[in-house]
């Protein structure tokens, strides 16, 4: 063969260029027709989903699943760039704060046809969960995989030292004027640098050693782990026509008085100032260092609190509010299919499997989250109990149906961009709670502009 050096060079360059250009695609062509790429963000859940993928493969030899995990912060931007460059995963874990936008932009597949065709029983899920994934357009965009709710995580050494019994902690009441027995407990748990408690004479609110109540941030638009249950049990709703609110109520007196009471705890010295709270690495780290008597948080944080070796942590119910009961936000995750997938049937098979009791039993036994399938819940409870957690406070509100949804809407990012600075300003005393009425107008303007 007579090949000139020039031809060789050209051929070599071409050979180099082709695979590198093709690599820009996620290799949809390169992988088998039955191989599904699946994304999740929680590293703690990787092992159980790897196990799910193994069982799925056993049951469906024609399909296989490749799992990729990215941290929460990277996850969403990677996903969006994936949509644009057509390299998104076939199936991915989705969140109620995010999917409405994706649905609005036609990036996720409606599952109604599949659900009807395979006669999927939606009654196996925890009450109300499956409906969270019906979008504003009435179509279903995911099958639920887990759920979460909120409680107080308290430092039991501190409560014992304060002479507060678990019974007292689990029967707290709250109201926006004097804070009820909840505030009394928080006050008693607060200790100043000289060892005086919040309810003892001479208490110095400017030199605090242990704050009764910790918080991670001002809550932004949802207040999920900061104020949502106070406001809800005060009879407040996020928006008209929940969960697809078109008009929000952040200016409602029921809300502003709740926030006014909440930030009042800072003035009284029971909660750190906003600057101090935000200057911390995070609320659990400070709790682990023995700086807080109790901190509200979501069930997905159980694993993190478990790793805090310096403190003995227990769970307490949320307080009963003015409307006469305790309410928690219930949120959850679901698996959704990317609209651009070239493997619809394989993707659906995987989503259906993850939504089945077989898969959720595997998830439950790992004891990381609460499974969406009711029948799998006892296994999760048992595993949590084995790890020393009595998770009843999380489940009671859910089982009683005393829950409210995460405020979802396709403009969630814009709403957050308004509400986060507005709430920050109130909590740092740079604005009055009444200023939230103005923020609410801004929010409603965004919603009407995009309607």
């Amino acid at each position: 063969m007579n090949v000139s050096r020039r031809t060789l060079l050209k051929a070599g360059l071409a050979a180099l260029a082709v695979p590198s250009l093709a690599a820009c695609n996620n290799g949809a062509a390169a992988r088998g027709p039955g191989e599904v790429i699946y994304w999740l963000w929680d590293a703690a859940q990787l092992p159980m989903y790897t196990e799910c993928a193994r069982v799925f493969r056993e049951q469906n030899p024609q399909y296989s699943v490749k799992i990729e995990q990215y941290g929460w912060d990277d996850y969403w931007s990677k996903l969006v760039t994936g949509f644009i460059s057509e390299t998104a995963p076939d199936v991915f874990t989705s969140h109620s704060a995010k999917y409405p936008l994706f649905a609005d932009k036609g990036q996720v597949l409606a599952l109604d046809e599949f659900v009807t065709k395979d006669a999927v029983d939606l009654g196996i899920y925890q009450k109300g969960l499956a409906d969270r994934w019906i979008g504003a357009d009435g179509k279903r965009y995911g099958l639920p995989k887990d759920f979460d709710s909120e409680v107080y995580f308290y430092n039991s050494a501190f409560t014992e030292a304060a002479g507060i019994t678990p019974e007292q902690l689990n029967s707290m009441t709250w109201n926006p004027s004097d804070g009820g027995t909840f505030e009394q407990i928080v006050r008693r748990l607060t200790v100043d640098s000289k060892g005086r408690r919040g309810d003892q004479p001479g208490f110095d609110k400017n030199n605090i050693k242990v704050y009764g109540l910790g918080y991670g941030d001002a809550g932004g638009a949802d207040g999920q782990t900061s104020w949502s249950w106070y406001a809800a049990s005060n009879g407040w709703k996020y928006s008209e026509g929940e969960p697809w609110g078109t008009k929000f109520f952040y200016g409602d007196p029921k809300f502003t008085e709740t926030i006014g009471w909440w930030r009042g705890l800072i003035t009284k010295g029971y909660m750190p100032t906003y600057a101090q709270a935000k200057s911390g690495v995070d609320v659990t780290t400070s709790f682990g260092a023995g700086k807080y008597g109790m901190t509200p948080n979501g069930s997905w944080m159980l694993g993190t609190y478990q790793t805090l070796k310096g403190v003995k942590t227990k769970l307490a119910r949320l307080p009963i509010g003015p409307i006469g009961k305790r309410l928690s936000m219930m949120n959850g995750l679901a698996d959704t299919i990317w609209a651009g997938t070239t493997r619809r049937d394989a993707s659906w098979a995987w989503v259906k499997f993850l939504g089945s009791q077989t898969a959720q039993d595997i998830v439950a036994k790992a004891g990381v989250v609460f499974p969406a399938v009711s029948a799998s819940l006892p296994a999760a409870k048992a595993k949590f109990a084995e790890n020393g957690w009595d998770v009843t406070p999380f489940l009671e509100t859910v089982e009683a149906g005393d829950v409210f949804p995460f405020p979802a809407n396709p403009n969630a990012a814009d709403v957050t961009a308004v509400m986060t600075p507005a709430m920050d300003a109130v909590m740092s005393f740079e604005a009055e709670p009444a200023s939230l009425a103005k923020a609410n107008d801004d929010v409603n303007q965004i919603l009407s502009a995009n309607a």
Binding site: W76, S77, V80, F83, I84, L101, F102, K105, G106, Q107, P272, T273, Y274, A275, Q276, A277, K278, S279, G280, V281, T285, S286, A289, K291, A413, D414, A417, T420, P421, D424, A425, S428, E430
Partner: protein, 313 residues
């Protein structure tokens, strides 16, 4: 200027035969030169020119990333004028740049002077460069931990000294100075080395002359070192200031724009608009404005500080 008038005659400016001009441009090398330039050119076009042009185009569109861009003329620029977050971002960024560049340049010159006068040790030079070798994000995170209000070592130290702990990242007034300080810590060694290299270009005879004339240490610094260092300083200022305007990573891993809006610098705001709020057209428009601002600032610096002239000539 004593130094300059006492300088020996400059050989170059006083005759001396210039080499004869090459008779023929060696066009024969052009082909080879092109081949060597090609890789860099491809990179420049693909990763700089094309994105810049596309950014300029997108700045005139409404583009949500998930749908095709729609041309909307100057709407984005009009929105910008009325967007209080944008103006706040500019002010915050400017505050950052002033603190960051001000402190950093003074410290860098100081360190360079100390090195120049005291040691030529390679070990010292390497040690001074160390913070620069650590990734930005790592530096930011480590400081974030150390400056934690409740468990951070810095505040523990302050308490031990009898000073009340400071919410470095949580207090609106402290957040930008804190972030600026962290980046000063990371970059001052590198900047000092650049200045140090500049110091070495100043001929020793000028200093000898100054000494003969009886100039003191301070006077020598103000009257000789600084003026002769000017071209290098301008280069350092232009480069570090452009970098400083583009502050992003430290904010992204620590305060994320908060508390309230006190650290929502322009780059972070652009990022938020583009990738969390999918308002790519508007983000592009802000990026174009930042581009123009940087171009003007750099030109002004070069002009005002007469970067092209050296007092040595």
């Amino acid at each position: 200027m004593t130094a300059v008038t006492n300088a020996p005659p400059n050989e170059r400016s006083h005759g001396g035969q210039a080499p004869p001009p090459p008779k023929r441009r060696r066009l024969g090398d052009l082909k080879v030169a092109m081949i060597f330039l090609l890789p860099a050119t491809i990179g420049f076009v693909v990763f700089y020119i094309w994105p810049t042009l596309r950014g300029a185009y997108l700045s005139f569109t409404e583009y949500s990333l998930l749908e095709a861009p729609k041309f909307n003329g100057l709407d984005n620029y009009d929105r910008m004028i009325h967007d209080s977050f944008f103006w706040n971002a500019l002010v915050v960024t400017l505050e950052y740049v002033v603190i960051n560049i001000g402190v950093q340049t003074v410290l860098a010159v100081a360190i360079a002077m100390v090195m120049y006068r005291l040691t030529r040790s390679i070990t010292v030079r390497a040690a001074i460069l160390l913070p620069y070798l650590v990734a930005n994000v790592v530096v930011a995170l480590v400081w974030y931990w150390m400056l934690d209000f409740q468990v951070g070592i810095v505040n523990q130290g302050l308490t031990w000294l009898g000073i009340d702990p400071i919410a470095f990242f949580g207090e609106s007034n402290w957040a930008i100075p804190t972030i600026a300080g962290i980046n000063v810590w990371r970059h001052m060694g590198y900047t000092a080395l650049l200045v140090f290299a500049g110091l070495q270009t100043i001929p020793a005879y000028v200093y000898e002359a100054a000494e003969v004339d009886g100039a003191g240490e301070m006077k020598t610094f103000w009257r000789i070192t600084l003026p002769l260092l000017r071209p290098v300083l301008v280069m350092v200022l232009v480069v570090t200031m452009i970098g400083s305007f583009q502050i992003f990573d430290t904010v992204a891993v620590t305060t994320r724009g908060g508390p309230i809006n006190s650290t929502r610098v322009i780059y972070y705001y652009i990022f938020e608009r583009a990738f969390t709020r999918f308002d790519f057209g508007y983000a592009s428009a802000m990026a174009m404005v930042l581009f123009v601002i940087l171009a003007i600032v750099s030109l002004l610096q070069i002009r005002l500080l007469r970067a092209k002239e050296s007092d040595l000539a």
